[in-house]
């Protein structure tokens, strides 16, 4: 025999300022909570989507990223001879030997420097990465000092736009095309011909070898065969796994920092809710006594106040999620600690985050409203009625 739901809800709408202020406190906390999760999600999404589930990345054993890695020409050829590789166009294995280095470029406007990935690619590189699409200009001519830039680089960096020039490794390079790789990490890269770049940078070794497997299920056996070959000092990873690992440290940091901050903030919001609910109970002592006198049980009173606190939390939760959803229009660019390279990514709102945020706000509501609700339920009828 519960007290009607509209009783709890209307008590919130009747005290508009208090409800608004308390819910605002909770909304801010939910906003930070959601923003943090969205940021980590966006980072991982960018990096994970960068990889394809059938591609394999081979780098030197122990190096954590392509930048630190070095694969000798001989070793690269051995990889090329693996039977597990899919055959691409022209009957050749779908495999690319790539060079990955970082160069320091100034950002447009602020001139602040950042490390940008330059990837020396081979013909198969484009086939291996269908996410990468040329949207402006053309591909570099073989043997020339021409490069193409990812959309994010073209927008953010001096000299990265179409027709512009970049100077490094003692040569001047012209940007002849812009490519779009969606929200993946490739959009923050510059691509050029691997042989030209290796020559310019005087790097005699590759950074990595990428290929597509005929049958991704055979990955484990291929990996153990490759890595146990005494001539090899490499390790193989599924491309999706490789990029996931790249984001791990940073995503973890973001999550830990964000969640611990949110926890501290939530204490403030919960205290706010508690103050509000205690005041609500104190102001409605006669009402509570009347309801009990009419025959409502203590449990019903408890439930009515908990429901009120839950509604409060829900209002705060929604109020916090709406602006958080707008964050999706913002792009963050920062240095990824593991790869040391510039990475642009944005906030990503998933249904999971929505659910978590709403649950979080409901929990805050209950945390704040529980003790006051107990106080309301424990009241003695006569004492309550007498206080009018």
């Amino acid at each position: 025999m519960p007290v009607p739901v509209y009783y709890s809800f209307r008590n919130l709408t009747v005290r508009r300022l208090t409800t608004a202020l308390t819910a605002s406190g909770m909304a801010l906390v939910v906003f930070v909570f959601a923003a943090t999760l969205m940021l980590a999600e966006g980072l991982q999404k960018t990096l994970v989507e960068t990889g394809s589930p059938d591609n394999v990345v081979v780098i030197r054993k122990g190096s954590q990223s392509e930048v630190q890695s070095g694969v000798e020409r001989l070793q690269a050829s051995i990889v090329e001879s693996l039977p597990d590789i899919v055959t691409g166009e022209g009957g050749r294995p779908l495999l690319a030997k790539e060079l990955v280095v970082l160069i320091n470029l100034p950002k447009r406007g602020s001139n602040k420097p950042a490390n940008v990935v330059i990837r020396g690619v081979g013909g198969a590189s484009y086939a291996l990465r269908p996410q990468v699409k040329l949207v402006e200009g053309r591909m570099p001519r073989p043997g020339s000092s021409e490069i193409i830039a990812g959309k994010s680089i073209a927008e953010r960096f001096e000299g990265g736009g179409i027709g512009e020039h970049l100077r490094f490794a003692m040569r001047e390079w012209t940007v002849v095309g812009i490519f779009d790789a969606g929200s993946t990490g490739f959009s923050s890269e510059i691509w050029g011909d691997v042989d030209q770049l290796m020559q310019s940078f005087r790097r005699p070794v590759y950074s990595s070898v990428i290929f597509r497997m005929r049958d991704a299920a055979a990955f484990d056996s291929m990996k153990s065969r490759l890595e146990s070959d005494p001539r090899m000092t490499v390790e193989a990873k599924l491309e999706t796994r490789y990029y996931l690992d790249q984001s791990e440290a940073m995503a973890k940091f973001l999550r830990i920092l964000g969640l611990s901050l949110t926890f501290i903030f939530s204490l403030g919001a919960v205290i706010g809710a508690m103050i509000t609910m205690y005041a609500a109970v104190a102001n409605r002592v006669v009402e509570i006594g009347t309801l009990r006198a009419l025959g409502f049980h203590r449990a019903s009173i408890l439930q009515a106040f908990i429901l009120e606190a839950l509604f409060l939390g829900l209002i705060g939760g929604v109020a916090g999620l709406v602006p958080a959803a707008f964050l999706q229009f913002i792009t963050i660019s920062t240095m990824n600690w593991q790869s040391f390279a510039e990475l642009a990514f944005s906030f990503s709102l998933s249904p999971g985050i929505i659910v978590k945020s709403l649950l979080f706000s409901l929990v805050m509501g209950i945390a704040g409203g529980l003790l006051p609700a107990f106080r309301a339920a424990r009241m003695d009828i006569v004492g309550a009625l007498r206080s009018s």
């Binding site: 509209y6 009783y7 009419l294 025959g295 009625l385």
Partner: protein, 243 residues
């Protein structure tokens, strides 16, 4: 609602709907125990309009609370319609009250966030009635107190007299055995007070309800069949006739 022509029967033939037997109640303040009621024994007949009067601190409100089942006795027993309510648990009392007692307070005690209709509906929510049946009951009692046109108003939009009428409707909606009123006219102007008292009169004469009313207003007491005086927790004159 039954029409009980109990007014035609003389006292001896009426059933005693409420019986108090040696009821005592005291309160604890710190380490002191303060007695409020001492060995109160009397009965109330069905269809009776009883007024409880006495100076402040006499225990009249406490007595009312005990009869209504809002408070419990220390010693003795209270029987309502033959049921010993002093033996009921707290939740048993709650259930018993919702079906058997109608409450009327000095300050109306309406729930501010509920409309007149919803306030009157409250006690019915504790029964198993369907929404449709509840609506019928509420509309019936609201028409009884002539407030059908204001059923969607909130208490803040009603005058004192109107609010008390809503309270009376709420008290009647479950067709309870007894109605308990604590200073029902205490916060009303003369005209509204007269109106409320005449309603309460109708409840007794037309519907045969039993009303127990605490008041300090002699004019209000004039409407009662019998007045009981309390002083320092003791009955002064157990039977008094209405003047």
């Amino acid at each position: 609602m039954k029409n009980n022509h109990s007014a035609d029967l003389d006292e001896g033939e009426r059933h005693h709907i409420v019986e108090l037997i040696s009821v005592s109640k005291s309160y604890q303040r710190g380490s002191q125990i303060i007695p409020v009621l001492e060995e109160i024994t009397f009965s109330i007949a069905e269809g009776e309009f009883l007024a409880l009067m006495g100076p402040s601190g006499s225990g009249k409100s406490t007595l009312l609370n005990l009869i209504a089942g809002i408070d419990s006795v220390d010693k003795g027993s209270i029987l309502v319609k033959g049921l010993d309510i002093s033996s009921l648990s707290e939740s048993g009392l709650a259930s018993w009250r919702s079906a058997n007692v109608g409450l009327i307070f000095q300050f109306y005690n309406l729930i501010p966030v509920l409309t007149a209709f919803e306030n009157v509906e409250l006690p019915l929510l504790l029964t198993g009635l369907s929404g449709r049946r509840r609506k019928e009951q509420v509309e019936t009692v609201l028409s009884l107190v002539n407030l059908t046109d204001r059923m969607d108003h909130y208490p803040s939009q009603l005058s004192g007299g109107q609010q008390q009428r809503v309270a009376i409707a709420r008290a009647m909606v479950t067709d309870p055995a007894i109605l308990v009123a604590d200073e029902p006219t205490g916060d009303l102007d003369r005209a509204s007070a007269v109106e409320i008292l005449s309603f309460m009169d109708r409840l007794v004469k037309e519907f045969g309800k039993t009303i127990i009313m605490v008041t300090h207003d002699p004019k209000a007491a004039e409407n009662a069949h019998r007045i009981i005086h309390l002083e320092k927790g003791v009955l002064l004159n157990p039977s008094q006739q209405k003047a």
